[in-house]
Amino acid sequence: MKVRFLVVAIFAAALAVAATTASGGTKRAQADKIVVWLQDDAKNGWPDAVAAATKSFQAKHPGVDVDVQYQQWTTHLTKLDAAIAGNNAPDVVEMGNTETTKYMAAGAFAPLQAKSFPNSKNWLSGLKSSCTFGGKLLCVPYYTGARAVIYRKDYYSAAGIKGTPTTLDKFVADGKKLMKKYGKDRNFSAFYFPGKNWYASMAFVYDYGGQIAVKKGGKWKGTLNSPQAIRALTKLKSVVHSLSRAPLTVDEAHPYPSIPFAKGSVASFVGNGWEWPYTLDPKVGNPDLAPVMAAYPMPSHIKGRYMPTFLGGSDLAVPVTSSKKSLAVDWIAAFTASANMRSIAKAGNIPNATNLVGFTKGNPKVEPFAKAAKYSWFIPKSPNWANVENANVLQDMCSQILSGRKSVTAATTTASNAITRILNTGS
C-alpha cells in the first residue's frame, strides 16, 4: 500500500510539474560578432543610420559581424533579464530613458568614458542625467522626442477649421466640428485616443498642475488623486468621450494610431515625431497622405502655452556581462556620429546634442515637435519607476477612467496607493 501511495504521489507530482514548468534556449554569440539590440523604431524610422553605423564600424574592425536584433518596447526588458540570467546578453542595448535608472542602480551597465563618443560635450542634459548614476556615466544619449498632434489638413479645412487650435477649449470645439462633419462613419475619430495611452493622459495631469508622485523626507507619495490631477483626468475623459472612438483597452502601440490614421478614419492623434514618416510608409501606411499631413503642439488649457509633453528618449548601454565591451563602445560611437544623427533627426526626432539642433530647423516634420518640447514633464526619478510602468499601474488607471469602469476618484486612489507602495519598496 505504501509503495502504491508513493507511485501515486510521484505521478501526481510529475503531472503537476510538467504543467507548470517551461524552458527556453538561445544561441551563444561568436567571438567575431557583436549583438546589438535596438528598438523597432530604428527599423521603421532610420534603418539607413543603422546600416551606415555598421559600415563605418566594420571599416575600423574588418571581419567583425554586427548582428542587429530589433526588439519591441513591451517585451524587451523581459528578454533582457532572461538574456542576462542566461549569460547571453547583447553587447549593446537600447533602453528607454525611463528604464535606465532601475538597471543602473542594479549595476547592469558597464561604466563608460564620455570622451569615447562624438558630441559628448554637448549632450542634452535631460538624456545625460538619465545615463548618470552615482556620478558615473553608464549609457550614451541616443535621441529624444516630444509628442505633438499629427493631423489631416484636408479634414480640418473641410470641417471649416481655420488654423490650428491654440487652447484646449478651441481644440475640443474644432474636434466637435470634425465629428459633426465625418462622424457618420462609425469608425471615425476626430482625435484618436487609445484608452491606455498614459503618456498623453499624464500630459493633461501636468498641464493642470498635477504630478504622478512627489518625494518628501526620503519617501515617495503617489499624488494622482490630488484635486489638480482629478480635474485634469475628468477633463480628459470628456475630451475622449466626445472626440475619440478608439478602443479603450489598448495602448498607443497596439495598433499604432498611425495605422487607422493612414486608413482615413482618423483626423488627428498624439504621436511621436517618427510616426509621421511611419504613416507614409507604403508597407504599413499610405504615402498619398504626404501633402495633407501636418502637426502642431497640443494646446494647453492656459492660453498661449502648450500642454507639457513627455520628454521620452532612448539611451544606448553596454551590459556588464558583455565580453566585447570595447567593440560595443566603438559601434555606439559610430552610430551616434553627427551624420547618423542627421538621419535620426530627419525621421522626426531631436538629436542627442545641442550643437546638432540645427538639423531640425526649417524641417516642418520636426519643428512642431521641437516646439512642443518647450513644456515638458518627466517620470519620478526612482530606481523602482520601471516597476510602476511594468505593473501597468497607469495604463490600467487610464483605461478604467476612460471606459467608465471606475470613477476618477476611485481609479486615481488605487493607482496612487500602488505607486506609493512600489516606489518605496526596498528603500
Partner: protein, 317 residues
C-alpha cells in the same frame, strides 16, 4: 492485502535467499524505467529544484546580474500570504478553472454522443473539424479570436448588431472583465473540446451494445441509460480527462497574455500570469518562484486526489 502479505512471508520462509534470476527479474522493470526517469529528472527535476531554491531567496535584478541570490527563508511566502491580490487571483483562478473544465467536459461529451448517432459522412466531417481545431496553434487561435471580437472590425460586434441583439458598435469586450473572461473562456473551451470529444467517442465505441439494449428493454430512457450504463463504464476515462483539464485550465497563460497585448490589466491576472508578472515584469524572481511553487502544490493536491481515484478504479475492476 493482509492475505497477500502472509502468502509472501510463507514463500520467503520456504526460500530464504533470492536467486540471481529473481533479482534480475525484479530489477528489470526499474532498468526499463531508468532512461525515462533520468530524462524527467533533467528536464523537470532540476528546474523544479532551482525554482524551489529561488523561492527561498531574495532574487531581484541586482542578484540576477551577479547570478547569486540571498537566502531569506520563508519571507517570500509570508509576503504572498499577506498579499490580498494573491488571494483574489487564487480565487479567480479556481473559479475560472471550474467553469472551463465543466464547460469543456459537458460540451465535449455532448459532441461525442452526437458523433455516435450521426451518419458516417457527418461523423467524418465533424471529426475532421475537431482535428483542425486541435491542430490550430494557440497563438494563431488567439489571434483569430481577437479579430472576431475586435471593437472596430470584429465579426462578433457586426453580427450581434445585425441580429438586433443590441447595439454592439464599438463594443469593447475587454472593458468589463466578466465579458473579457467570457471571450477567454470561449477560446480555451473551443481549443479543449476536440481532445475530450474524440477521447470520449473512442470510449463510447467500447461500451457493449447489449448492455444498452438490455437497459432499453428494461424501459430505461436515454438519460438513464447514459447515467446508469455509459457513465460508470467510462468513469476511468472521465477521471483522466477531468484531471488533465484541471491541470491545463489552472495554468492558462497564452490565451490571456496574447489576447491582451502582453500587458493584461490586474483584473485579468490568473495564477500563471501573476507569477510571470511578479518575476519578469517587476524583476522579483524569488517572489515569482514562490508563487509558482504554491501553484505546483495546489496542482499536486488536485492531481493527487484524481490519480488516486484512478488507481482505485483500476483495483475495483
Amino acid at each position: 492485502m493482509a492475505v497477500a502479505e502472509s502468502d509472501f512471508s510463507l514463500a520467503s520462509r520456504r526460500r530464504p535467499r533470492w536467486s540471481r534470476h529473481r533479482v534480475a527479474s525484479a530489477a528489470s522493470p526499474y532498468g526499463l524505467l531508468a532512461p525515462a526517469l533520468v530524462v524527467l529528472g533533467v528536464v523537470l527535476g532540476y528546474p523544479l529544484y532551482l525554482i524551489a531554491r529561488l523561492s527561498f531567496e531574495k532574487y531581484g535584478l541586482f542578484e540576477l546580474i551577479r547570478h547569486k541570490g540571498r537566502w531569506i527563508g520563508l519571507d517570500n511566502y509570508t509576503a504572498i500570504i499577506h498579499d490580498s491580490q494573491f488571494w483574489h487571483v487564487l480565487l479567480r483562478t479556481v473559479g475560472f478553472t471550474a467553469v472551463n473544465v465543466s464547460l469543456t467536459m459537458v460540451l465535449g461529451t455532448a459532441i461525442a454522443l452526437l458523433l455516435v448517432r450521426v451518419s458516417t459522412v457527418v461523423r467524418y466531417m465533424l471529426t475532421a473539424a475537431l482535428v483542425f481545431v486541435w491542430a490550430t496553434p494557440v497563438v494563431v487561435a488567439v489571434d483569430v479570436w481577437r479579430w472576431l471580437v475586435d471593437p472596430q472590425f470584429g465579426l462578433a460586434n457586426w453580427l450581434l448588431t445585425k441580429l438586433h441583439v443590441g447595439n454592439f458598435v464599438h463594443h469593447d469586450w475587454f472593458v468589463n472583465p466578466w465579458s473579457g473572461f467570457g471571450v477567454i473562456t470561449a477560446v480555451v473551451v473551443w481549443g479543449a473540446i476536440p481532445f475530450v470529444a474524440i477521447t470520449v467517442f473512442a470510449g463510447l465505441s467500447q461500451v457493449p451494445a447489449e448492455l444498452i439494449e438490455a437497459a432499453q428493454i428494461d424501459g430505461a430512457r436515454a438519460w438513464n441509460v447514459f447515467r446508469e450504463v455509459t457513465l460508470p463504464l467510462l468513469k476511468p476515462i472521465f477521471v483522466i480527462l477531468v484531471s488533465l483539464s484541471i491541470i491545463w485550465d489552472f495554468q492558462v497563460f497564452n490565451q490571456i497574455w496574447i489576447m491582451l497585448d502582453q500587458r493584461p490589466s490586474a483584473d485579468y491576472y490568473l495564477m500563471s500570469v501573476y507569477s510571470f508578472v511578479e518575476s519578469f515584469r517587476i524583476s522579483e524572481y524569488g517572489l515569482g518562484s514562490a508563487i509558482a511553487v504554491v501553484m505546483v502544490l495546489i496542482m499536486f493536491g488536485f492531481t493527487f486526489v484524481y490519480v488516486r481515484q484512478m488507481v482505485k478504479a483500476g483495483e475495483v475492476r
